[in-house]
């Protein structure tokens, strides 16, 4: 199981355009990252805030619903955040060659 997870993560990191991945726990503390420390901390902190707000918004509308995935597309890149109660997975991908 763990090796499959490792493989999947490696594949993701090796996909075309992917800048880096960050896995944080529920408090926004990075567990595993392919970026350097500063960038990791920055992404983790900022995206944590955003996901909490987004989650609150979704649940306010319907408390039985929950946020599962968040995608931020900007001019240069796309930030994708996969959410669960216990962790966050952040992937940054460049869109153009």
């Amino acid at each position: 199981m763990a090796s499959e997870v490792e493989e999947t993560l490696k594949r993701i990191e090796g996909q075309r355009g992917v800048v880096g991945t960050v896995v944080c726990n529920a408090d926004g503390i990075p567990i595993r990252s392919s970026l350097d420390g500063v960038a990791t901390a920055q992404y983790a902190r900022l995206l944590r805030k955003l996901t909490v707000m987004a989650k609150s918004a979704v649940r306010d509308i319907d408390p039985q619903n929950d946020l599962t995935f968040l995608r931020l597309r900007s001019q240069k890149c796309e930030i994708m955040v996969g959410l669960e109660n216990e962790f966050l997975v952040i992937v940054i991908q460049n869109l153009h060659q």
């Binding site: 993701i12 926004g28 599962t68 153009h96």
Partner: protein, 776 residues
């Protein structure tokens, strides 16, 4: 001795007599006495004679006080206990001492032999006779017997001491050994202050009288001014000297708190406890970590979430607060557990697909026939502009455009032998990898690819030997049947991540002992009526048998047909006349079967192609005889396909370079198509148009349109140099074609600029066929 009544009345006087030395403070005492007397109930103090009489005086009942209530009844409280006459010692009942005032008043009561025992050993006197054990400091004493010993010089201290000790001793010996019953009862209601209201209900009896009085008083007030009856007069009241006093209190600390209740917060608080229970019961095997997460995130005390909502609401959130927000704040979560949890895998799966969707978006959009939206943010360089112009200028002849390739490291170098779509999920493709060469015994591979991830298969199954054929079941879409080069048939259940096959035929005694060349799920009539259809797995193999497999606990088969060689039968018929018959049956080898196909409408009829070029039409109800035999091919028939639009028409291709179009009843083919002198490995009808089909030679992929031409294919696509194409599959809902080759890649092509007439061309096919028939 004065009378008891007089005694009491003169109590105060007697006090003054006896204690002249304390005159100064007597007034205070008076007041004390008065105050002690001015309670609701009365004190039955026993008047104590002043003279130093013997104790007998003390013994006499001292009901000097009589209390009468409004109605004149005697409500004098009775004493609790009556001492036996002649008792030497007087006990002091101290339960209702109310402090110094009482003590002092008792001190100064005239008594002959009164010495005051120290009234602080209260706990000692808990004899069973005491019914009031309340040690309240209520001033009023309802009933008490106060036999006080006034400390005088007559009594030496030692005496008192002895007495006290004796009393004490009594307690210690007897009291500790026996069971003490303490009765707790309520006292009567003691009213300290009674202020009856001055308003009277209108319905009361004397309301009238009161109203009358009120009116008279009102009139009086009115008439007061200038009335001689009433005269103003001043009075002076005592005004106490005032004194200002300052008080300072501790500074009051003010703290701002705020709270916001969001909808989900309230929902969680209400239903969090319930969900907690259901989650815990539903997943008892989940690791303790995740359970604790659930608990803490859904506990009824939501102080952290309150803080969190505050920080969300107020945008000025400090980084400290951030940490406590929203999701559960279980810091002890093991990172490794997170990484190994199932949820993590799922999220990664979705994430991977999202990333790939970004990368392959234009291709997938083309596949799904969606308009490709240009990326407005992409940097437009002069080179890209040139490319675009070139694209526009390209020829408008029908071509195949390569969209993407399914391949990964696992599949490199393997030959693709077969491909199949899932019947339920049109995005799921199963690809079998196995060598055609019987001598090449490399283990085979089955990969289930999803359109959403062209870089890695969803499922990978390693097989012992090469895979030759695949088919998904229609009734149970998760069942994948795999035929292999050693003759085994395996069924995989693809819904689970389990890598092992569910069922295998290797243990079956009647299994194929030579390569299984094709497997197919087909519905068969089981019962007498036509409605009872069950799906069964059919297989054809190189040992010449067609078997029908049943899946119970294990695979078990029933032989449907044996492919007997027709030539030998003919010979036998000739020689039968002779007496060779008597020599017994000659064992003859069976014709190796290569491919088969079931009739789209009547699934009991099927066609089987064999290695010597014969096509047999059989029925599953008749396992002895063939319905028809078509022997026009000169080489092994590699593929037979019924036309999905016309139930009488079928196509066959063989290694003799030809593709033949047949009608069911005709033993000679209607059309024979050859374009190049290469072996044809695979053909397939287009699911969209009745006149279109595709074929694969070794190095080329051809799309034929019978309407367009029966001599040449419409599209010819060359394979990359060195690569041989081996397998063909049309996409079901779009106009795309998948081609597998011997380098382990499945390429998805889109058919472009392919114009066919309107509709699905069934009529066109009919007309072609009829004209072809006419020519014969």
């Amino acid at each position: 001795m004065t009378t008891p009544g007089a005694k009491l009345k003169k109590r105060t006087l007697m006090v003054t007599h006896s204690s002249r030395a304390l005159n100064g403070s007597i007034s205070g005492l008076h007041q004390v006495n008065h105050s002690s007397r001015h309670t609701g109930s009365n004190v039955s103090r026993k008047g104590l004679s002043m003279a130093g009489d013997s104790r007998s005086t003390i013994q006499t009942p001292r009901q000097t006080v009589r209390v009468l209530n409004e109605n004149g009844t005697d409500v004098t409280p009775q004493p609790i206990s009556h001492p036996e006459p002649g008792a030497k010692h007087n006990r002091v009942y101290l339960d209702e001492f109310s402090g110094p005032s009482d003590i002092l008043s008792m001190l100064y009561q005239p008594t002959t032999a009164a010495s005051l025992t120290v009234p602080f050993s209260r706990s000692v006197f808990c004899s069973s006779k005491i019914s009031r054990s309340s040690l309240s400091t209520i001033e009023s004493v309802n009933e008490e017997r106060v036999d006080t010993f006034y400390k005088q010089d007559n009594y030496p201290a030692s005496y008192v001491q002895v007495e006290r000790e004796e009393v004490k001793e009594q307690v210690t010996e007897d009291m500790l050994n026996e069971v003490v019953n303490i009765y707790l009862t309520e006292t009567e209601t003691i009213t300290h202050l009674d202020m009856p209201g001055i308003s009277v209900s209108v319905d009361a009896d004397d309301a009238e009288a009161i109203k009358e009085r009120n009116n008279r008083y009102a009139e009086l007030c009115k008439n007061r001014m200038g009335n001689d009856k009433y005269m103003d007069r001043s009075m002076q009241a005592f005004i106490g000297a005032s004194k200002s006093k300052q008080v300072q209190c501790d500074s009051i600390v003010m703290v701002d708190t705020a709270c916001e209740a969001t909808t989900w917060d309230m929902y969680d608080s209400f239903y969090g406890a319930e969900q907690d229970k259901t989650e815990l019961t539903a997943e008892p095997e989940k690791s303790g970590y995740s359970e604790s997460i659930v608990n803490s995130s859904r506990g009824p005390e939501k102080t952290t979430s309150l803080l969190s909502t505050t920080s969300i609401a107020t945008s000025a959130s400090s980084s400290q607060r951030e940490i406590e927000t929203g999701m559960c704040s279980d810091d002890a979560a093991d990172p490794r557990l997170i990484l190994q949890s199932e949820k993590f895998q799922k999220v990664l799966l979705v994430m991977e697909r999202c990333i790939l969707a970004n990368i392959f978006q234009p291709k997938l959009a083309a596949y799904r026939q969606l308009p490709i939206v240009e990326d407005c943010d992409s940097v437009v360089t002069p080179e890209t502009m040139e490319h675009r112009e070139e694209d526009v200028e390209r020829s408008l002849s029908p071509t195949l455009e390569s969209l993407w390739v399914f391949s990964c490291e696992l599949t490199k170098g393997r030959t693709i032998s077969c491909m199949a779509w899932n019947k339920k999920n049109p995005d799921l493709l199963a690809v079998g990898y196995g060598e055609f060469d019987f001598r090449d015994q490399t283990p085979g591979l089955v990969c289930c690819w999803s359109l959403k991830n062209p870089t890695w298969p969803e499922r990978v199954y390693h097989c012992n030997t090469g895979v030759t054929s695949l088919d998904f079941s229609a009734k149970h879409p998760y069942r994948l049947a795999v035929g292999m080069t050693d003759g085994t048939i395996a069924i995989y259940y693809v819904y689970s991540q389990d890598k092992t096959c569910a069922v295998s035929s290797s243990k079956c005694s009647k299994k194929h002992y030579s390569s299984t060349w094709q497997v197919k799920w087909a519905e068969q009539d089981m019962g007498l009526s036509g409605d009872d259809k069950e799906e069964a797995l059919m297989s054809i193999s190189a040992d010449g048998r067609i078997s029908k497999w049943f899946l119970h606990d294990d695979l078990d088969c029933v032989e449907l047909m044996r492919l007997k060689r027709m030539q030998e039968e003919k010979d036998e018929m000739e020689t039968e006349v002779k007496d060779k018959k008597k020599k017994g049956e000659i064992l003859r080898s069976l014709n190796a079967g290569f491919c088969f196909d079931f009739h789209p409408v009547d699934s009991s009829i099927y066609l089987a192609g064999s290695i010597d070029g014969t096509i047999y039409k059989c029925s599953s109800s008749n396992s002895q005889q063939f319905l028809e035999t078509y022997s026009q091919h000169f080489g092994p028939v590699t593929r037979i396909k019924w036309c999905p639009f016309n139930p009488n028409v079928f196509l066959s291709c063989s290694l003799d370079w030809t593709i033949k179009l047949w009608i069911q009843d005709q033993l000679t083919p209607l059309l024979c198509l050859t374009s190049t002198q290469k072996q044809v490995h695979d053909i397939m009808w287009s699911p969209k148009w009745a006149t279109v089909f595709g074929a694969i030679n070794e190095g080329q992929m051809k799309i034929w349109n019978l309407d367009y031409s029966t001599l040449d294919p419409v599209i010819v696509h060359m394979a990359a140099p060195g690569v041989k194409m081996t397998s063909l599959l049309f996409a079901l809902q779009t106009d795309c074609v998948l081609v597998g080759d011997n380098s382990g890649q499945v390429t998805v092509y889109q058919i472009k600029n392919f114009t066919v007439g309107e509709g699905n061309q069934v009529d066109t096919l009919e007309s072609i066929i009829s004209s072809a028939v006419a020519r014969l």
